[in-house]
């Protein structure tokens, strides 16, 4: 192995490039956090420095107060958690059905799922909105969750994952007299758990960050989510100062970074299962 290592300068160079890229990726976020802790007059052009002179934690209180973020935090959280759990389940079930069960119209269904992946959301959302409204799903939690408990990408992704589960395992289960539901629950779900976790992470991130749909269906006080509330800080007459806006941006970003760091493993392993076996 030792002989396979490239020369030292080359290794240093490779490290330098990668670390520079990583720094470039993280710098804007660091800048966001630093700015969020500065006083308003510290962001004037001639007074820039990385570290805040006096740490203004009050910017966070002001961001929360000005946009009522505390009230909308729960909306975002509940919607994201419900979506994650339900989407994980239903996408996996649909993926299982498409990958392993023989039924009429299966090919058509797969084709439809693929087609749905290519459709621009903007092309369908006015009609989707009217349908949601007819079902009473406007300005409430349902509106934020139900349309997302299955997605074309999710089904496709889970189908790929389930396809990797050996048929022999399922055959053995069937011989033991297991129903399709049992197979799904006892054999398939455990086997594709990493992929489910990965998809769950993605669902959580997407639900948390979703902007356009909540803006259309749910921007009243009772169902508004964080992105909508935060966008208001930069619009209208009372545009907030940069430090306050950055405080809001930090508040909406941190939970996701935590979720990602916690589930990084699951995510990467899930990706290994499905992303590779196209």
């Amino acid at each position: 192995m030792r002989s396979d290592r490239p020369s030292l300068p080359w290794r240093v160079f490779a490290h330098a490039v990668v670390y520079a890229a990583a720094l470039a990726a993280a710098m804007p976020l660091l800048w966001m956090i630093m700015t969020s802790l500065k006083a308003d007059d510290e962001v004037a052009p001639d007074r820039l420095s990385l570290w805040p002179r006096a740490w203004q934690w009050s910017n966070y209180a002001e961001a929360i107060r000005a946009a009522n973020l505390d009230r909308f935090f729960m909306n975002s959280l509940v919607a994201a958690v419900l979506t994650t759990v339900l989407a994980g389940f239903y996408n996996a079930a649909a993926g299982f059905a498409l990958a392993k069960l023989r039924f009429r119209g299966r090919r058509t269904a797969i084709w439809l799922v693929l087609a749905a992946m290519m459709l621009p959301v903007q092309a369908s959302f006015i009609v989707a909105y009217i349908i949601a409204a007819r079902l009473g799903m406007v300005d409430n939690m349902q509106a934020l969750v139900v349309p997302f408990i299955a997605s074309a990408f999710g089904i496709f992704y889970m189908k790929q994952a389930v396809a990797a589960v050996p048929d022999s395992l399922l055959e053995a289960g069937r011989l033991d007299g297991m129903t399709d539901l049992d197979l799904f629950w006892h054999l398939v779900l455990p086997a594709i758990w990493p992929a489910t976790a990965a998809l769950g992470t993605l669902s959580f991130v997407n639900s948390w960050n979703s902007f356009l749909w909540p803006l259309v269906v749910a921007d009243s006080e009772s169902s508004k989510t964080l992105p909508i509330a935060i966008a208001e800080l930069a619009g209208g007459v009372y545009v907030q100062s940069w430090p306050v806006r950055m405080a809001a941006a930090t508040l909406i970003t941190l939970p996701l970074v935590i979720v990602f760091l916690l589930f990084q493993r699951a995510f990467v392993r899930g990706v290994t299962l499905s992303g590779v076996k196209e």
Partner: protein
Amino acid sequence: MAVLGVFVLAPTVLGLALALTDWDGSGVPRFVGLGNFGALLSDSRFASAFRNTLVFAAITVPAQVLLGFVLAAAVNAPWFVGRAAVRAMLFIPTVVSIIAVGFIWRWMLEPRTGLVPLAFASAGIEAPDFLQGGSAVSVPMIGELVSWPMLSVCAVQIWKMAGFCMVLYLAAMQQVPESLGEAARVDGASRWQTLRNVTWPAVAPTTTFLVVTGLIAALQVFDLVWALSAMSDSPSTRVLGTLLFREFQQSRLGFAAAVGVVIFALTLALIAGESWRARRAEA
């Protein structure tokens, strides 16, 4: 599946039908045939939105995929120190909310106080206006292809997505048996040849996946552009997605739906092209 049907497929089919009408949200939609598409072609905004969308896809998809591949190849090397930390740092931009991305980058690019223009200034270069205005990047032979603000959008998209591509490549590369590379090395292949002839083909499925999903996302791009243009329809960064939303806001639903059809057709065409290319590459 029912949910998919109700909230994705049905609205899409109806949306496509809408493109053939002049519906404005009230009364009965009137059938106008291909009238909306005629209006689209004669609309001066459409040409620039169309061009910007293609430029966006052409710049961001290859850049983020190649960058992801190169970074993954370096990080995957057995001698690389600090793999987990680098992976986390590069991936985090992917999960940042688009609203926060808009705030952060408008602040980074702001002409007087942004870090990027200041960096240009300290290097003695006069920075263009990265956020607004029509100042364009001149490309020899081609002319003014893309505006600086549009280029900023592309850069932010690459910033956001390169880490995602890297993580997927990394996962794929860990599946490639090390013996494969070693065998090539024993045969006297250079490091570069190994990367080119062994690793790259081995992760081809991931490349296809990233290119296809990347293209789909790039052609539909809306919220990133919207957030970086301060929630407005700015001509220098107009893409099909923002044009569609603008028309939707103005309640010209038939016209908006026609733009959606164009996005759909473009996506289909590019993906058909890509899968044809991938199949040929395999054969």
